[in-house]
C-alpha cells in the first residue's frame, strides 16, 4: 500500500512526539539561537551539544543544519530544565 506511506509517517511522527521519553523540542529563531551561542559559547557554536540531522525528532520538526534546538526536559531534580543542541550534518 504505497499511498499510505506518507500517512504512516505522519502517524509515526505524532506518536514519536507524544512519547513519554521524548521531551519537548523547539527550534530557536536565528536571534534566539545567536543569544544562546553568545551566552554559553562566546560565539563558537560547536561548543554546544549536538543533535544529528538524521535524528527522528529533527526530521519531525523539520529543523535544518546549524539550527539550535531548545529542549525542555522534565527533571526529577529541578522539575523543569532547559537544554540546547546544535543540528549538525
Amino acid at each position: 500500500m504505497p499511498s499510505s506511506d506518507n500517512e504512516l509517517d505522519e502517524k509515526l511522527k505524532k506518536i514519536i512526539l507524544s512519547h513519554r521519553l521524548v521531551p519537548e523540542h523547539r527550534i530557536l529563531s536565528k536571534e534566539e539561537a545567536q543569544k544562546v551561542i553568545e551566552k554559553y559559547c562566546g560565539g563558537d557554536k560547536y561548543k554546544l551539544p549536538y543533535i544529528r540531522k538524521s535524528d527522528p525528532i529533527v526530521k519531525a520538526l523539520g529543523a535544518k543544519k546549524d539550527d539550535v534546538i531548545m529542549i525542555i526536559r522534565r527533571s526529577p531534580t529541578a522539575g523543569v530544565s532547559v537544554y540546547y543542541r546544535l543540528v549538525i550534518g
Binding site: 561548543k47 529533527v58 526529577p76 531534580t77 537544554y83
Partner: protein, 1300 residues
Amino acid sequence: MSFGREIRRYEEQAHRYTISSIKFGVLSPQMIRSMSVVEITNESPRNELDEPMPGGVLDPRLGNPEPNSYCPTCGNDRDHCPGHFGHIDLALPVINVLFAEYIYLILKGVCLNCSHIKIDPKKKQRYIKRAWELRKNLPYMYDLFVKKIVKEASETERCPNCGKENIKIVFEKPHKFFKVTKDGEHIELMPSEIRSVFENIPDEELILYGLYCEAGAQAYGAGRKADCIRPEWFILQALPVPPLTVRPSILHEGGERREDDLTHKLVDIVKVNSKIRKDKTAGSVAMALKNDYDVLQLHVITYFHNELPGIPPATHRGVKRLKTLVQRLSGKEGRFRNNLIGKRVNFSARTVISPDSNLDINEVGVPVDIAKILTVPEVVTPYNIDFLRQLVLNGADIHPGANYIYRQKTKSRHNLRYVTDRSFLANMLEVGDIVERHLMDGDIVLFNRQPSLHRMSMMGHIARILPYRTFRLHLTVCPPYNADFDGDEMNLHVPQNSEAQAEARSLMLVENQIISPRYGAPIIGFTKDYLTSSFLLTRDEKRLDKARLFNLLSIYDEIPKMDMVRNWEKTHSGRLLFSILLPKDFTYSLKSRLEEDVIIKEGVLVKGVIDKRSIGAEQADSVLHRLVREYGNRFGGDFITKFASVLDRYLLSRGFSIGIEDLKLPEEVVEEIKEIEREAHRKVEEVIRQYREGRLELIKGLSPEESLEQKIHEILADARTRAGLKALESLDKDNPLYVMVISGARGTDINVAQLTAMLGQQTIRGERISRGYGKRTLTVFKEGDIGTKARGFIGSNFYRGLNPVEFFFHAISGREGLMDTAVKTQESGYLYRRILYSMEHLQVDHDFTVRTSYGKIVQFVYGEDKVDPARSDHGKPVNVERLVDSISLLYPKGKYAGSKYIDEILSKVKDEIPPSLYEELRTVLMRKRANKEVVREAVRQAVLNYRSSTIDPNTAIGVITAQSIGEPGTQMTLRTFHYAGVKEKNVTIGLPRIIEIVDAKQKPSTPRMTIYLDEEHRYSQEKAEEIANKIKSTKLRDVVLGYSIDLASRRVVFKLDMDALEKVGLTPKDVKRVFSRRYSTELNGDLLAVKPSMKLKEGEETNLDIIVEKLRKAAERFLERHIAGVQGIMRVTVDRVVNEETGEEEWVLYTAGSNLREVLTFEGVDPTRTVTNDIFEIYEVLGIEAARNAIINEIKAVLDEQGLDIDYRHIMLVADLMTREGVIKQMGRYGVVALKESVLAKAAFETTVPVLVKAAVRGETDYLRGPTENIIVGSRVPIGTGSVDVYIRVGSDGGDGKEA
C-alpha cells in the same frame, strides 16, 4: 675534549619554563639529519678495550657521560646532559610500519601516475574547504569524511586529472603493498616507488588524506607559516638514533656489561645497512641485495614494534622478546601508565594499621619512628624562633626535633644528623630561615588506603604522635577506607606548604567528608560493636547504677545538671548518655530496625532504641544524618567521637562475647524446625511426582523442567526463612546473636538461620547443584534422583554440623562465591577505569555549566538544579518537611496564611530556586496550613539552604561522578539473570547490564519490551491477551499441523491449523497472501500449496531424491517465515500492574524480543508509554533525547534492583556525556575517550601508540588543559583548587585574602 662543536652548558642558562603545548608531527629526513650529532656507521659498538667506538651506537657524543666526566657535545656532567640524537642514513628507503595504514590510505586515493587525488578538480576544491572546516569544528566527522573521500577516489575508473587507469592496491599486513594488474597479478610496490609518488602530492591535497599542512591551512585562514607533514616521510631514509640516556648500558657486578634492547636492535640495523651499502657499490647480485633489503626492513620494523602479527619477533638468543619502542610506551607497565601517570612521592610513610577508639575521628596515630623521618618545613618568624631553636637543639634523634635547616643568608642546607654542634646552628637561626622539623601533634597529614575508589579513600587527618609501630585510626572511619585490621597497611603523606596544608584542613579533613557525594548521606557512622553497645545501652530495660553512670559521664567534658542526672537514673540512664550529646532544640523521630518508634524531643531521647537506623554508617535520614546536616560537620564529628568513646567504655565494662552455647536452641524449637524441614521434603516430593506424571501446573513462559526447579526453589527457600524466623524468635533477648542481628551490628536473619536452623539450598549460578557423575551429583545417590538432598539442599546447621555430602555441596557453593568475587573485582575495576577516563576532564564552570577542559558543554546546569550531591540532603537541596516543622515550633501562633499569601511570598524568589523546590514549598506550606511568619521564615531559609547547597565552580565533577558509579561496582552481583517468576521479565541485571549500557552495545543481550495498552484494552485480561496473541510474531510453523510434498507438481502442501489461526486473528487467505507475492500458491480449504522456485543443476531434473530433498528444505524454510504479528517479538506474557500516576490497575504486556517502531504503531497499544530496553532502538525511533532518558532509566533500574544508592545527578551526567555528540557514544576508547581533545590523555588510556601515530599524522597539538595531560607533563592540574591562585593584599586594608 671537543668534537669541534660549540659547547653549551645547560646549567648556565637554567631557566624554568612551563610547557604551554605539545605539537605532534613527523620528522623529515632533513630534520633527522640536522638534529643529529653523529652519523652512526660503525657496526661494532665497542673496541677491544671495551671503549665505545666513535661512529658506533654507543658514541659518547650521544650523551649520558660517565660519572665525573663531561659530555663532549654539550659539556654538561651526567646529571645535566639531556642526551643527543644521532642518526643512521639508510642505504635503501624502508617503510615505517607505524604509518603503514596511513600509507595504504593514501595509496588508495592517489593516482600513481600524476600524484593527484583521483577526484574531479572542481569537487576537490569543495572537499578541501569542507575538510578544513570539519577538522577545526568536528574532528570526529573529519575522520569519517577522509575515509569517504578516499573511498570515492579509490572507486573511480580513471584518474580525473591525468586520465590514467585506476590501479587497485593490496595491502599485506603489516608492511607490504602490491598493485594489481589487469590480469590480477600482484606486483610489489617498493618503498622507493611509493616515496616518489608521495613526493609529488601537492600540499593542498594533503588535508583530504587526513594529513596536516599549514601551507594549505593558510589559504583557509587557519595557519601562519608553512609547516607540513609530508607523506613521503612515512618512508624512512634516515633513522634517528636515540640518546644514550634513553638506552643506558647496565653494568653488572664483575664488570659484565649489558646493553639496552634498543641498542641491540640498532646494532642489527647498522650491520645490514653497511652490508647493503657495500653490496651496492660492489654491484652485487640483485637477489642477494633484495634479501638484505628485506632483512633491513624487518629489523627496522621490529625496532619500532616487536609484537606485530606476521613478523618474527626479535629475541635475545631466541628466549626473551626484546622490548622495543612500542613496547616501551604501551600497556600497564609502559611509560604512560607506569611512569607518566603514576608518579612517586617523597614525604610519605606506610605501615600496618590498628584501631584506637580513644582518638578523635579526625586524628591518626603516627609512630614516633615515622614522625622522626617525615618533616614539615617551617619558616622562622619572630613568633616561633624560640620554639624552632629548641627543635634544632633536639636534633634528628629526639622526637620533637628537626632534620634539616635551610639558611637564607648562605643559601645552604644543613643536615642536623651530621652536625656535632647543634647549639651553634640553633643560635645562628634567623627570621626567614627554614627548619624542616619533625612531624608533630596537630600537623595535618593525608591518609590513604588502596584501592582508592572514591575521594574518601584519601582524607586529611590530624597527626598524633604515639609510641609503637602502627598507624592508629578511629573505628568509625573504617567504612570510607574500607579498612579492617587483619594486616591492612595504609599510606600517609605530609603536605609541604601552607597552601596545601590549608586545603587539606578545610576540604579533606575527615569530619568534612562525613557526607558522601555518592548519595548525600553519611558514609561515616557507627558500625559493629558500637551498634551493639548503643542497642544494649538504650533499650527499654536498661538501667545503669550510679557508679557506672558517673563513670561513663566522666568521659564527656561537660557534666549536666545534677537534678537531670538524678531523674534519669530512675527512668533511663542509658538514654541520658545519648541525650546529653544532642542539641537542646533537636527534635526528630524515626523507626528503629524493629519498626518501633524512636522519639527525640528537644534534645532528649524519650522513647526507642538507638540502633543502626539511627546512627549507623551509610544510613540516609538517620539521627546522625540530621545532626550533621543541621548542626554542621564539626558538631557531627564531635558527636561521633564522644558517643563512640562512651559506647566503647560501656561495652567494655558490660562485656560482650559469643560462644557455641549461644547457638543452642531449645528442644521444642529444634523439633519444630525439623518438622518444617520434613514438610518441605514432602512438598518437594509431591511436585516431583506431579512433574513425573506430567500434571505439574506450569509457570507462565517456563518449560516443565524450569517450572519444577522454580517451585522446588520456592518451597525450600520458604522453609529456610520460616526455620530462621522460628530460631530468631526463640532466642533470648540477651542472646548475643539476637543483639547483633537486631541492632544491625553484624549478621542477618539468614546467618541466624544457617547457624542454628538449616543452611538451606546450595546453588551454582542460581540453580540447584546438578553436575557430577552423569545423572547424579555424587555416587551415594541413585541415578536420576532429583530430590532435595541429591541436589544440594542442606538441612543441617552449623551448630549441629554438616554430614560429608552436605559439606561437599557447601564447599562447591562456597568456591563459586570466591570465584565470583575475583572476577567481579576485575570487571568492575575495568569498568571504573573506563568511566574515569571518559569523565576525568569534566568540571563545573563558573556559570554552572558542565564542560570538558576544552570548553565543550555537556550540561547547561549541573544536575539541572546546580545542587552538589555532597551538600544535598539525600539528593535534595532542602528538606522542606523538616524545615517547615521546625519553624512551626518557633512560631506556633497565628492562623493559616492562605494560598494567596504563600504564592505572593514565593513569587519573589521564583527565579532563584528550581521549580521543583518551589512546588514542594507551596504544597507543604499549604498542607501544613502554615501561618504568615512560618511562610516567610520557611521561604527565607529554604532559599538560604538552597544557595548553600549549590556546587562550587571548578569542582572536578567528572571524577566525582566516575567514583560514585565505579566504587559501588564491586558490590553489584555478577549473576546475570533475575528470576521474577515470569520468563519475559528475566533480564540481564547487575554489573553485566551496567557494562552493556555504558559500552553502548548495539543489542542488549536480553531485549525486552514493556507494552502498555490503550483505554480499550488495558482493563481486561481477555482484551490484553487478544493483543498479546496478535503482537507476537507468528511463524508459519505456529499455524500449521503438518506438511506433505507434492512431487508431481513440485509443491509443498501445508495443512493449516484453523484453531491456531483464529487465535492470532488470521484467515487462511492471509497466510496465502504472504506467500503469493513471490510464489505460485493455491488454497484449498485448510490446505495451502506453495511452489518454491528451484534451481536444478544439469542431470538433477530426473533425480527424485534430490528434488524431494530440495522441497523439504524449502518447506522448512517456509515454516520459519514470519507471517503475522510483529517481527522480533518472540514471546509475550500478560501481567497486571498498578499505574503509578493514576493508581489504577491495568494489564500490560512483557515481551522477549523488541521492535519498537512497529509496536508503537500497532493497533491497541498505548504508544506514549510503551518502551524497550534496547537503547539503540530508542535512539533510532525516538531520537537522542529519548535515548538519553532511556540510558538514565536503565541504569537507575539496575541500581535500584541492586539496592545501591547513587545520586540521580551522577547518572544524568553519564547519560548527557554519552549523548552529547547527538549519537550514543560508549564510555571507552572508541567513544567518549576518542573524542577527547588531548592526545596525551587519550594515549594514557588505551591504544597508546595508535593514538600517538594518528596525532602525528594529523599534526595535532595538545594544549594541556585537562588533568591527565598536566599530570603527565608534571604540572598542577587545572581543575578544582588547581584552577585558582591565592593572592594576598598587603597594605591599606590589611591582609584579606583574595582569590583570583
